[in-house]
Each structure stands twice: as C-alpha cells, then as structure tokens.
C-alpha cells in the first residue's frame, strides 16, 4: 500500500505532533496548558529543521514525500511532500507558533486550555495546507484551518468579534465552495486523480481553464486578500487577540498566494497568461489602495492590517509577473511579510497589554517611556518600509524587478507604494515613538521584560539575516521556481500546436484584448 520514498516521516511528524500536544493539554491541568503548548510548538520547530537541513536545493522535485493510499475508490491518498516553494512557508509557520504561545502567556486569561488547543490545531492545519500533495487532503486542511481561526477571533476577540467572525466566514465560505467545485472538476477532467502533481501535468482546454481560474481566484484572492475582497481583514485583525492577528497575517494570508503558486500557475497556464493583466492591475490597486487606507487609520492594528493589503499586493504582483525574479521575490516576500507584519502585531499586542488601547493618540512618546520597545518597534517599522539591509527590501526589490520586466508602467505605479509605505509607517512612528507620553497612560508604560524580548529578538534576527544574507533562503527556491516557469513555458509554447487552432486563437485573442494594459516590451 505504502509508496513512501522512504526515510523518516518528518513531515507527518511536523503536521501531527501538535495534535499530540492537544491530547496532552486535554489530559493535563489547565495551568499546565501553556507550558505544554510551548513545549510542543518548540519540539515541532525542532522537528521541522531536518526538512531544511536535508533539503536538496538543486532538485525541483517534491522531497520528503510520504504517500499512502487512504481511500481506494475514489483514489484519495495521504500524500505529503515539500519543495522550494512550500519549505519556507512550513518553516515560517513552525517558527511563529511558539512566539504566538509566548505572546499569549498573560494576555489570554480565560479558557487558556482551549486557546492553546486552537493554536496547535491551527499549526497542524496550516502546515498541512503547505505540504499536502493530494487535493482532498489539501482541502481538508484548508477548511480545518478555519475552525481554530474562527474560534480565536470569536471567543478571545474584542467587543465586536461576532461581526468580524461573520465577515471572515462569509468571505472564506464563498471562496471555499468554488474551490471545492474546481477540485472536483479537475478530478474528472484531469485523469480521475486527486494527485496535485499529476493534475499539474495534465492539460485542460482553455475555456475550462478560464472557469477554473476564477474559481481558484475566488478562494485564493479572499485569503490574500486582494482588492476588493479585503474588507474582512481589518475587522478580523482588530477583533482578534494578538496571537490570532499574528497567525492571520503571517500564515493564513500566505495560503492564498501559495494557492496561486501551487495550483493556478502550473495547472492553468493559458488562463494565467490571459488573465495576468487583470491580476497585475488588482495588485497595483491593492498596493496603492492599502497604503492610502493605512494612512487614514487611527487604530494601530487597522493601520498594520491595511499595510498588509499593500504588502500582499507586492506578493501577487511578483507571482503574476511570471518570471524568476518576480516569483522568487514573491515567495521571499511571503516569508518577510510573515516576519515583519507578525512582529508589528506582536508590538501592538505588547502595548495593548499595557494601555488597553490601540489608538495611536493614546500611545505616544514611547521612546521616552519604553526605550527598548521603541527600538524594536522602529526596527520592524523600518523593515516594513523596505529599507535595504532589512528583509523586506530584498523581496520587494526582486518583485519590482520582475514586475518591471512584465510592464514598466505597472512597476512604476507599484514603486509608488514604496513611497507611500514610508509615509504611513513613518507617520505612525512619528506619533507613537516620538514626543511625550500621554498623561493618563504614562504610569502604565513599563519597558519590555524577558518574555517579550524573547519573542521579538528572534524576529529581529530574521529581519537582518534575510536583509543582509538572503542567499540561503533564495537558494532553496531557485530549482522549484525554475521548474515552475519551465512548466509555464512548456504548456504555453511547446505543446500548443497539438491543441488545435481554437485553443491558441482563444488565448491569443484574450491576450490581444488585454494587451492594451501591457505597456511596452523589453528590448
């Protein structure tokens, strides 16, 4: 039955170990819950390291593959594996969960046990999404992830949590249903298999591709979130507890962009080529719109939430630039956004624990009252601005370079986002870090203690590491991205003749119709 590639099942361990922690929490006393959760998540982090150490950078193939038949008919497998696209995201997840546990240490006072369980279930589900190689398995993880996220917002959230949770659900519901339909259609047209790799090899008629493209788009664009499907995000962030915001921003949003990379690009190359201008347009709108929205916010979490919309616009921009720089930049930017925005949400959580306000006007003059906090806040804010030497710059630069090769005007408009990021972030810093602390808050402001330092130092370390020496992270993805792009080219050019005039003419006419948006070719 088993057709595993042999070796120790590291991936399965990483995916399901958190559930062992859940069992332990259920059995243990409530006071131990957070310790167990911390221990479990740290062990999971350790167990995820062999995936990186043992990863063959030169190979584009799936690695650490485990494959067992689950249901004979229809053929559903438990199949997992990683490549250069999923590995960084898996590591990002396992790295962030312990930090989420730490930041909730005192912030969560009620139902600690259930909270920790939700976090760990979340870990299983998100890692599962990134490693699944079977569509049904993927979908199960995809949907499972919603439950703990929903609970995190709905139970431990702020005063308006029900509204936020409903919104979150409505959006994702719409996407998920269409995703399911798309999966089933792929099953029937792609050779009666749920194997993601096999489905990626199959060729689908362009008209069908167009339908599938928008079905996928509905699911993934909501998650990213792309304009105009973004309005759930600020509400969800504002209501969610800090750990929820961190997971939401750092991991959950990446599932959308991961979906584009794993499914849309390889399976639907003709539709991708045809609709790229629309996606690029939406990305640019997201970058600028998100930045302006961030500019208008008075609530720190909302500001950072809208900055997420802007930053994730860069990721989709890079993916649909359909070249090596763009996609590698996008993957790196997914990681960077996880680190930087996650850290900013942590920072907001830390200050919220003290002042019980997220309003910018209540949290001022922090450099004077909390110098260490101000230092970290500054580091992550500047990382968000995309300062060279820090992580986001490398990703944004590659994305913009890739986007520039796709269309000069597009990249130029996106580069405006770089200016706007400086505006809204530094304006926030100016009001929060500089000046005098407000009168009624100043007695509540005490500087970071060891646990908080412990959550921020590793993140700051990554900010500089990726900024100064991103090669280890980039090297992981080269082969996989090259493979992805070859696939793209193969389907678009080499295999076009046998697919008759009709398919070629359709996609080319669509291209022509949309080419008005594309401005200028490269020499």
């Amino acid at each position: 039955m088993a057709s595993s590639s042999g070796g120790f099942p590291w991936i399965t361990l990483v995916v399901f170990l958190p559930l062992v922690g859940v069992a332990a929490i259920l059995l243990a006393e409530e006071t131990r819950a957070k310790w167990i959760a911390l221990g479990t998540s740290l062990v999971v982090l350790l167990c995820s390291l062999p995936l990186w150490i043992g990863f063959q950078e030169s190979s584009p193939a799936m690695q650490f593959v485990e494959r067992y038949r689950w249901i004979a008919s229809p053929p559903i497998h438990y199949a997992v594996g990683i490549d250069g696209i999923s590995l960084p995201l898996v590591l990002l997840t396992t790295f962030l969960i312990p930090l989420c546990v730490l930041v909730s240490w005192t912030a969560i006072e009620t139902r600690v046990r259930e909270f920790m369980i939700s976090l760990l279930v979340m870990e299983t589900a998100t890692v599962g999404v990134f490693v699944a190689l079977d569509f049904v398995l993927f979908y199960i993880f995809w949907e499972t992830m919603l439950i703990p996220m929903y609970l995190l917002i709905g139970v431990w959230g702020g005063p308006n949590r029900v509204y936020a949770a409903i919104k979150f659900f409505l959006y994702t519901l719409a996407g998920s249903v269409l995703l399911l339909v798309a999966i089933l259609v792929l099953f029937f047209t792609g050779g009666h298999t749920f194997d993601i790799l096999k489905l990626s090899q199959a060729i689908y008629p362009p008209t069908l591709q167009a339908w599938l493209f928008w079905a996928f788009f509905a699911a993934f664009a909501v998650k990213v979130p792309m304009f105009p499907f973004h309005t759930w995000l600020p509400d969800a962030h504002v209501e969610a507890p800090t750990a929820g915001s961190v997971i939401l921003a750092s991991v959950l949003l990446k599932m959308g962009t991961y979906g584009f990379l794993r499914f849309t690009l390889p399976m639907l190359p003709d539709a991708t080529a045809a609709f790229t201008p629309i996606i690029m347009g939406l990305s640019v709108i997201a970058i600028i719109y998100g930045a302006y929205m961030a500019f208008a916010q008075a609530d720190l979490k909302k500001l950072i939430a809208y900055s997420s919309v802007s930053h994730m616009g860069f990721v989709t921009l890079g993916i649909f630039a359909l070249n090596a720089q763009g996609i590698e930049g996008a993957i790196l930017q997914m990681v960077n956004h996880g680190i930087t925005t996650g850290a900013l949400f942590l920072c907001v959580g830390i200050i919220y624990e003290r002042t019980h306000s997220r309003e910018i006007r209540d949290n001022t003059g922090l450099a004077k009252a909390m110098p260490r906090y101000a230092t970290f806040f500054m580091i992550f804010a500047l990382s968000s601005v995309g300062l060279p030497g820090m992580n986001s710059f490398v990703g944004e630069f590659l994305v913009l370079l890739g986007a520039f090769a796709w269309g000069k005007l597009t990249a130029t408009l996106a580069a405006l986002g770089v200016i706007l990021a400086a505006v809204y972030i530094l304006w926030m810093v100016q009001r929060v870090v500089y000046g005098e602390p407000s009168q009624q808050m100043s007695h509540k402001l005490f500087d970071l203690h060891w646990r908080e330092m412990g959550t921020l130092i590793p993140l700051a370390g990554f900010v500089f590491w990726i900024g100064l020496y991103p090669k280890p992270v980039l090297d992981v993805m080269h082969a996989s991205v090259e493979h992805l792009l070859q696939h793209e080219v193969r389907v678009m050019t080499v295999e076009q003749p046998p697919r008759h005039e009709k398919s070629a003419s359709l996609s080319s006419s669509q291209m022509a119709a949309l080419s008005g948006y594309r401005d200028g070719q490269l020499p």
Partner: protein
C-alpha cells in the same frame, strides 16, 4: 592585503555599531564615544593606505565580500570598486568624518543619548562608505537608503521634540520620492544590461539609444535631486537642522547630501549620452544655487542660513555636472566638505558657547569672547565666499569658468549672481554673529566661553584644509585633482575649447570682484550703517516676507500634495465601509434568508451530531456553547459538516460509479 584593507574601511565602524549598540549601556559613555571615534580613525587609516595604493597603481580594482542576492539572471554581490573617484570620496568621508566624530565628543558631552548618538553616527559612516565604495547600483542603493535612515534617526535625535520628529519624517519621505526614481533607474539598467555592476554597465552605455539613456539618466537624477536637496525636493534640508549640529555638519553638509553629485559623476558616461538630461541637471543646479541663496539672505537661524547655503552650493556642483565639468564638481564637493563642515562646527561652537541659542538676532560681538571660533568661522566664510586663495575660490571659479567657456552664459549668470549673494549672506552672518554690539541675553552673556580643545582642534584642522584645500586643483583644469581623477572621469568632449590665459584670468578677476562686492554690501549694511538693513527690508516688504517665508513652498506642498493625500485616504476609507462592506452585508443577509430554510436541519441534525461528538469527547465546555447566541457557529458547523458531506456524497456516489 589590499582586499582586507578595503573590507576594513566599512568594517571598523560596523563593528563599533554592533558593540556600542548591543553593549553600550554596560560601560561608560566616554568609552563608547572613544570606541566610535577610534573605529572611524582606523577606518581613516585604512582609507589612507588604500588611497596610497591607488595613487601608485592607478588601476580600478574590485573586491567582493559575498554574494548578496541571486534571482533568475540577477546576481548582486556585496562588492566594492576602488578607483580614484572612490579614493577621493573615501578620504573626504573618513577624514572629515573623523574630525566631526572627535568634535562630537565635546559637543555632545552631557547629552542624554550620548551612546545612541555615536551608534547612529557610526552607522552613518558604514552606509556612506558603502555608498561611495559599492561596485554596483544596488550596493550604492543600500548606502543611499542607509544614509537616509541615519539622517532620519539623527534628525529625530531629540525624540521628545515633536518638531524634530516631523522634520525627520519629512526628510525620509521626501528622500523616498527620489529613491523611487533611483529604483526605476535600476530596473531600467537591469532590463538593458542584465547586470547591475558598474563594470558591466558603464562601458556598455554607448549601446543605448539616446531616449533610453535619457530615461535612465533622468530617473537617476530624480534620486539625486532628493538626496542632494535640489529643487523641487530641497524642503527637507533646512528642517533637518533639528538634528544636533555635528550631524548637520557631517550628514547635511559634508557627505550625505553630496551623494547625488557623486552618483551623477559616477554615471557621467550615461549623462554624456543624454544631452537633454545634462541640460536639465545644469538648469536645476543653477536655479537651485540662486534660489536657495536668496532665501539665505534673510534667515535668522544660524544653522538655517548654512542649510540654505548648502542647498545653494550643491546647486553649483550640479551646474558643474550639467556643463560637463565633472572633475570640477568633485573638486567643489571636496572643498565644500572642508569649509561647510568648518562653518557648521564653528556655528556649533557658537551655539555651545551661548547655551543653545541659534538666533543671530540674539548674538553679536562674540569675536572677542570666543576668538578661536571667530577665526575659524571667518576662514570658512572667506572660503565659501570665494576670496582667493582659499579653497572655495578655486573650485567655484573653475565651475563658473567652465560654464562660461563652453557657452552656457545663462548658467554662468545664475552662478555669478548666486556668488554675489553667497558672499553677502555669509558676511551678513559673520557680522551679525561676531561683530557689532552684543545683543546676547544678559543671563547667557556671562556664561559665554570658548569650547574645549576636543572641539576646537577639529576646527583648526578644517580651517587649515579650507585654506589650502583649493590647491589640489591649481592651476585650473590642470591641477593634481584633474590628473588623478582624469582616468575615471573623462568627459566626452576633451577640451576642444582652448581658452587663452587672458580669458581665464579675466574670469577669475571678475569672480573676485563679485565676491568682494558681496562682502562690501554686507559690510555697509551690518558694520557701517546697521539700521540700513531694516530700511531696505521695509522698502520692499513683500519681497522681504516672501523670502522670510521661503517663498511659501512648504505651504504650497502642503496644500497640493499632503492635504489631498490625507483626504484621499479618508475618502477611500469611506468607500471601503459604505460600498464594499455594504455588498458584503447584503450577501450576508441573503445568506441569512437562505440559511433559514436549512436551519431546521442545522438545529436538529447537524448541530445535534456535533454536540454529541463534543460531549463524547469531553469537549462540551468548548466554545461551541459560548457562542450559541449568534448565527456564527451555525455557519461554522454548516460549512465544515456540509463540505464533508458534499465531498463524501460526490466521491462515493458520483465518482465511485466510474472506473478509476
């Protein structure tokens, strides 16, 4: 050995940043200060050694530290290019930087964030060195943004002052506008050359079409305009004076703001390909030179006068670039670094003596009280005003002569009027500060004291450099500087104009007359007839207030850029809530109606089953019940259960029938 020396130049300050930044609170601030200065000193020694090497070998060499970014066809190294242009910049940056660091030990003594100050200063040195040493556009860009960051941090050094915070933000944001242009230039360069290394790009620029060369040159120039505070992006520099005075000297006068000039000269091959871009560079430079000088005429803050003077002098450097006098641009960059650093540090010494006073209306008669500072300031004034044989005369004269000889009479006129105004406002500043009757607050007056040696010695050194620095470029067009830089900076048209010595001497004489006239007017207004200045101002009140308010450019930018941006943000916020969310809520209501029909199933079947499972697993206390009030958990249950049911149904009945 050479490679190691090169790496150590930015390496020493970097190590100091890390040590002082992480451990600075563990030991005394004096130690932190000396560590910072020592690092810059060692860096200076390494720079000297490297410079000696260039002097001997005269060949450009590349040193690669490591591979930084790889993506597709792009490979970017953290690498350095060491040639004569870099050599000159290295000496200026580390040399002047060292003097200012030492000066800061005294000036910043007693400030709260002493260690923090030196961490930022050292970080600035690292960034500036990367900027001038990089062997590709991206390393240049790291340095470029890095110096901008340090400028931001140091302008906002007094972080409890909200005006400082605003000035810092303004500086960064305005610079960012320029940086976006720079980024676009990098993308264009990569698109055309598939590389970002100078050695791959610059020898190949002749392959570009004129249009493409112009596009790249203009994008680069947008970056230069931001960093070097030229029209229309100059407004941040005067505000940047919120930072401590040594910062103004190092960053906002001697080094960082000249980065744009360095970049244009480094890319001169590109500009030679793009005459239209050259013209624009020259015109922007010339107009800025005059425009900033006019504002400087009436300002009362000693540092702001110097700031406008810096904007003006940078204008001269761009004017030089625009007329193809690249070596003269670098020459003026070097002499300006000497005398402007001197002026700022002397001004700092004045401010130090007066306990923080910066308003020249509350100064006067300081010459006898702080004689050494007076002398050094006077040297700086004579140098910048263009009185021979001090440094500023030679470099400014060379720029103006080049413009004249190559037929750019309009630019020459701008520069000449600017020179007159420069001499005037600098002597006005000197007279109001050091001569005449004292207008100093009596409480302050008896505390006035000369600065300690740690501050005055750097002043003396810079004064000496301001006196003799000009001889690096004497005789004009054929000095040592020209020979040294000639290998790197060879203008396209190699002196096709042979100019008679008579013309050159005539131009020099005219320049001297202009400078002396400016001095004369200032002498008349502020020494001979002190009340005349007010009379002149009263006679043209509109001109005077316009100048005093800096042509209302800040207000204009506020009205046409800043406020509309804020309004746009707010209106989009409205759009999000009232349009997009209304659609979502509509869908929500629709879903409510739809779900009403299935509520019965939900309540009696699915929810029951779920509850059963929950009870069975000792999970009854879970949040399912907590949320029973809302519809929300119904959605959750329905979606998950429904999805599973649907999948199951489809799989078992639909798919199960077909052969797999």
């Amino acid at each position: 050995m050479f490679d190691l020396l090169v790496l150590l130049i930015p390496g020493f300050p970097l190590v100091a940043v890390v040590i002082n930044g992480l451990l600075g609170h563990r030991y005394s601030r004096e130690l932190a200060g000396w560590l910072a200065c020592g690092a810059v000193g060692l860096s200076f020694l390494c720079a000297l050694a490297v410079f000696g090497d260039i002097l001997g070998s005269k060949i450009a060499r590349e040193v690669v530290a490591y591979t930084w970014i790889v993506g597709g066809a792009l490979t970017v190294n953290l690498g350095f290019l060491i040639d004569s242009l870099t050599g000159v910049m290295l000496l200026v940056v580390t040399g002047v930087g060292l003097l200012i660091h030492v000066y800061s030990l005294g000036y910043m003594h007693g400030e709260e964030g002493f260690t923090r100050f030196f961490v930022y200063m050292n970080l600035f040195m690292v960034s500036m060195l990367l900027l001038v040493m990089g062997n590709n556009y991206l390393v240049l860009f790291i340095g470029w943004e890095g110096v901008g960051l340090c400028s931001y941090l140091l302008i906002g050094y007094y972080f409890d002052r909200i005006s400082a915070a605003k000035a810092a933000t303004k500086a960064f944001v305005v610079n960012r506008i320029g940086d976006a242009g720079f980024l676009l230039a990098i993308f264009l360069i990569f698109a055309n050359f598939q590389s970002l290394d100078y050695t791959q790009v610059l020898p190949q620029v002749h392959r570009l079409s004129t249009e493409m060369a112009t596009a790249i040159a203009l994008c680069l120039f947008i970056g230069a305009v931001g960093k070097s505070a030229q029209i229309p992006l100059y407004t941040w520099l005067p505000d940047a004076m919120e930072g401590p005075t040594p910062v103004s000297a190092l960053i906002h006068a001697a080094t960082m703001v000249t980065a744009g000039v360095y970049m244009v000269v480094r890319n001169h091959a590109l500009y030679d390909m793009a005459p239209a871009a050259m013209t624009l560079v020259g015109v922007i430079g010339g107009v800025t030179a005059l425009f900033a000088a006019t504002i400087g005429l009436v300002q009362y803050d000693i540092k702001r006068v110097l700031a406008y003077s810096t904007v003006s002098q940078l204008g001269y450097m761009f004017l030089a670039c625009g007329v193809g006098a690249y070596i003269a641009a670098i020459f003026h960059l070097v002499t300006h670094a000497f005398f402007k650093a001197l002026l700022f540090l002397s001004a700092g010494s004045v401010i130090h003596a007066l306990g923080g006073e910066q308003d020249i209306r509350k100064m006067g008669g300081l010459a006898s009280k702080i004689p050494l500072t007076h002398k050094t300031f006077l040297v700086g004034t004579l140098a910048i005003a263009g009185i021979p044989p001090l440094a500023g005369f030679w470099s400014k004269d060379e720029i103006m002569a080049h413009a004249f000889v190559h037929g750019h009479y309009g630019l020459y006129a701008l520069a000449a009027i600017g020179a007159l105004l420069t001499a005037f406002y600098m002597f006005r500043l000197t007279y109001l500060t050091f001569y005449g009757t004292s207008r100093i607050d009596p409480h302050v007056a008896h505390h006035v004291h000369e600065s300690p040696p740690v501050m005055t010695r750097p002043l003396v050194a810079l004064a000496a450099l301001s006196i003799v620095g000009g001889f690096l470029g004497v005789p004009p067009e054929h000095g040592w500087m020209h020979g040294f830089l000639g290998s790197v900076v060879t203008p396209a048209e190699t002196s096709s104009h042979t100019v008679s010595a008579g013309v050159m001497v005539g131009l020099m004489a005219f320049a001297v007359i202009v400078a002396l006239s400016g001095w004369g007017i200032a002498h008349y207004l502020y020494a001979v007839k002190p009340q005349a200045a007010d009379d002149w101002a009263a006679r043209a009140p509109r001109v005077y207030t316009t100048l005093l308010n800096k042509y209302y450019v800040d207000e204009l930018y506020d009205a046409i850029v800043v406020e509309p941006c804020k309004r746009l943000g707010r209106s989009w916020d409205w759009f999000d809530f009232h349009v997009i969310d209304r659609v979502v809520r509509g869908v929500g209501r629709f879903a409510d109606v739809g779900s009403a029909t299935s509520t019965w199933i939900e309540k009696h079947v699915i929810y029951g089953v779920l509850n059963l499972i929950a009870y069975a697993n000792h999970l009854a206390s879970w949040s399912w019940r907590k949320l029973q009030s809302g519809l929300v958990n119904h959605y959750a249950a329905v979606i998950v259960a429904g999805a599973f049911l649907l999948v199951h149904f489809l799989l078992v009945w639909l798919v199960g029938g077909t052969r797999v």
